[in-house]
């Protein structure tokens, strides 16, 4: 058994960005099937055009259409492509000096093997059939063929490109700390485990690798009661995506007996408007056959029916 528990996690987000006038001009060009560079004050023709002149710092306004054909200035071989790269088979990344430009442009080059690419070789843009105004409107470069790349069709009458959406998804193997792993393994056995700080004797649940007050590693494992006190709570009235319980319901901080930190859980089996600070509650577990290494083994907390805890017993834990 490995020391820690881990699980795959994908973090994904569609980054939505405005382009501004310079990158907008470049991406509008790609949508129309032309490559647009910018002329800088030192006479360079740069692709993609820089937003501001590197010498004068003035906004770039002098745009130049360059050829979709050019020469490889440098290249490197991608033996093991990663997700979302322009090609899903081995390919080259290349810096291509397009005819009419003076600075090279980074993109992918579709060749079968490193033996098929060399600095100085002639390459041309392979346009994507459906273009949206994004750098990926160029599928990749390819070696020049007898047939020149098809000339661009009529310029679009659509509005200029003002924004791009870039989906990003990153895959991780996410590990819990050893203390968190012990907590989740405990839950899989129907136990709630915390850790006690050897310096200040505070008990943390879920446990942490170090006491946040003292910075001391929390080495002492403590099994906690499954009965506790509601310290504070809120009534959820607002529906949201992925909600599993029909509002109104109560989300509360429960301070387990013997713990010094309250943790968040649901209070059910009681009308939401009857939940109160100081209410005594107990864990309600799902059927054992549904247990895993997860806090969801505890379905919710419900009132025990005991008298409310005195305010002094939890006033230091709010």
């Amino acid at each position: 058994m490995s020391r820690t528990l881990s699980a795959p996690v994908t973090v994904a987000f569609d980054y939505t960005r405005s382009t501004g006038p310079v990158l907008g001009r470049f991406l509008t060009g790609l949508r129309d099937g032309v490559v647009v560079g910018g002329r800088t004050s030192d006479g360079e023709v740069v692709v993609p055009p820089p937003e501001y002149d590197p010498v004068t710092h003035a906004a770039t306004t002098d745009f130049v259409e360059v050829s979709p054909t050019g020469t490889v200035a440098s290249w490197s071989w991608v033996a093991e492509p990663v997700a979302a790269q322009p090609l899903d088979r081995p390919f080259a990344f290349a810096l291509v000096l397009l005819d009419g430009a003076t600075r090279p442009f980074l993109h992918a080059l579709d060749v079968a093997s490193p033996g098929d690419v060399a600095t100085g070789m002639r390459v041309q843009v392979r346009w994507r059939a459906q273009r949206t105004g994004a750098i990926t409107d160029i599928e990749c470069f390819e070696p020049v063929t007898d047939q020149a790349a098809p000339p661009p069709g009529p310029r679009s009458t659509l509005d200029p490109v003002t924004g791009v959406v870039t989906p990003v998804a990153l895959d991780y193997t996410y590990a819990a700390s050893p203390e968190e792993s012990a907590f989740y393994r405990g839950l899989a056995e129907g136990r709630v485990l915390g850790q006690r700080c050897p310096t200040c004797a505070k008990v943390y649940v879920p446990p942490r690798s170090a006491c946040p007050a003292d910075g001391t590693p929390t080495t002492d494992e403590v099994e906690l009661s499954q009965t506790g006190t509601v310290t504070t709570f809120c009534i959820v009235n607002v529906p949201f995506l992925g909600q599993r319980i029909t509002p109104p319901y109560v989300s509360a901080y429960v301070l387990l007996d013997g713990a010094d930190i309250a943790f968040l859980h649901l209070i059910l089996d009681v009308p939401a408007d009857q939940v109160r600070m100081g209410m005594r509650v107990e864990a309600v577990w799902k059927p054992r056959e549904e247990w895993g290494t997860t806090i969801e083994n505890i379905s919710h907390f419900r009132p025990t029916g005991e008298p409310d805890a005195a305010y002094d017993t939890y006033s230091q834990h709010l």
């Binding site: 290249w75 071989w77 750098i135």
Partner: protein, 350 residues
């Protein structure tokens, strides 16, 4: 300017850390080593600054979790940079220069192995025309290596010599994740991985953390007979785009070096995650053959993201403490193909 020295250094580097990406568990013993080296407790630390990245951790606010390792009652003076440890050192050095504090503990951590590192790092690129192509770190370094090969500035032999010296030196570094020199010929006989790079031309994916203690004037002299005085520190940045800079040069390194007095440097710890990058850096810093390069084995043998640059400062400092170096240079890099560079000098005499 106040005299500020490096007086403490601790590190952990490993191929794969079996623990949470918040790395609290790695940091606690590092801080303990720093307290032991200085004789201080956490209450002697005037300022804390960390370097890390949520993209690497795969979760938001990972640096806030890491603060658990400090212990924050009573409250501490704390900051964070989404950059390498070396830039956290820079912020702490500035903080000490303000006169507000006399001491600082800077730390950094990263679990590179949690994701696919060379892909994750595409998120640091220009987001309109680069990131959507997902140019991976190794490919971008390969474009740079080829530019120098084609220009005749270096050759495969020179790159293999860098790798060979690094692997040999790493044999005495308990933290190196890759070590063991054999011969340049043997390295050249290995297959090309990401043409023109072989695997030993590329830093290994490494998890880890490191901590550095800074102190001003007498606080530094209390700790060590021979503190490593930060006699100069400077950093600059080159354009992000791969097409608008000469990849065989590193103007930001040259400019940082020119801001310092490099006369008398006898040892340099250079943060070169790819073998040819060491050749670029040596040229830009004008380091002669008599300067000992990367006695730790350098980043080619161990390169924990967000601490490997600062580890260069720590490795240089401890050689000044030991008297092995009178004046050491440390360099850290960040961004694609040596885009951002920090250079500092550490001296035994002040």
């Amino acid at each position: 300017m106040r005299d500020v020295a490096v007086v403490g250094f601790a590190q952990r580097q490993m191929q794969e850390f079996d623990g949470s990406p918040t790395c609290v568990e790695l940091l606690v013993p590092l801080f303990a080593e720093c307290y032991e080296q200085t004789g201080w407790t956490r209450r002697d630390i005037g300022f804390w600054c960390s370097g890390s990245s949520d993209y690497l951790a795969g979760r938001s606010f990972s640096f806030v979790q890491a603060v658990d390792a400090i212990g924050v009652i009573p409250p501490v003076n704390e900051s964070h940079v989404e950059m390498d440890l070396a830039w956290a050192v820079y912020e702490a050095w500035l903080k000490i220069q303000t006169g507000e504090v006399d001491t600082a503990l800077v730390y950094a951590f990263g679990k590179s192995s949690a994701g696919l590192l060379r892909r994750t790092l595409a998120l640091q690129l220009e987001p309109y025309t680069m990131t959507p192509l997902w140019p991976d770190t190794v490919s971008l370094a390969g474009l740079q290596a080829r530019a120098g090969l084609d220009a005749g500035l270096w050759d495969e032999q020179a790159m293999a010599e860098v790798a060979h010296r690094s692997l040999t030196d790493a044999e005495t570094n308990e933290y190196a994740v890759r070590s063991g020199g054999s011969s340049v010929a043997e390295l050249l006989a290995r297959p090309v991985y990401a043409d023109p790079l072989r695997k030993h031309d590329c830093a290994p994916v490494t998890d880890g953390a490191a901590a550095i203690v800074l102190a001003a004037g007498d606080r530094a002299r209390e700790v060590r007979d021979r503190p490593a005085w930060l006699s100069g520190i400077s950093h600059h940045v080159d354009p992000m785009s791969m097409g608008t800079r000469d990849l065989t040069r590193s103007p930001s390194t040259a400019r940082s070096g020119a801001a310092l007095d490099l006369d008398g440097v006898d040892l340099a710890e250079l943060h070169a995650p790819f073998s040819h990058q060491e050749l670029v850096l040596r040229r830009e810093l004008g380091l002669g053959d008599d300067v000992r390069i990367n006695p730790s084995g350098g980043a080619l043998t161990s390169n924990p993201m967000f601490s490997a640059g600062g580890i260069r400062i720590g490795e240089a400092a401890r050689r000044v403490w030991d008297g092995e170096s009178d004046k050491a240079l440390a360099h850290a890099t960040s961004g694609p193909a040596l885009q951002q560079n920090l250079v500092c000098t550490l001296e035994g005499q002040r």
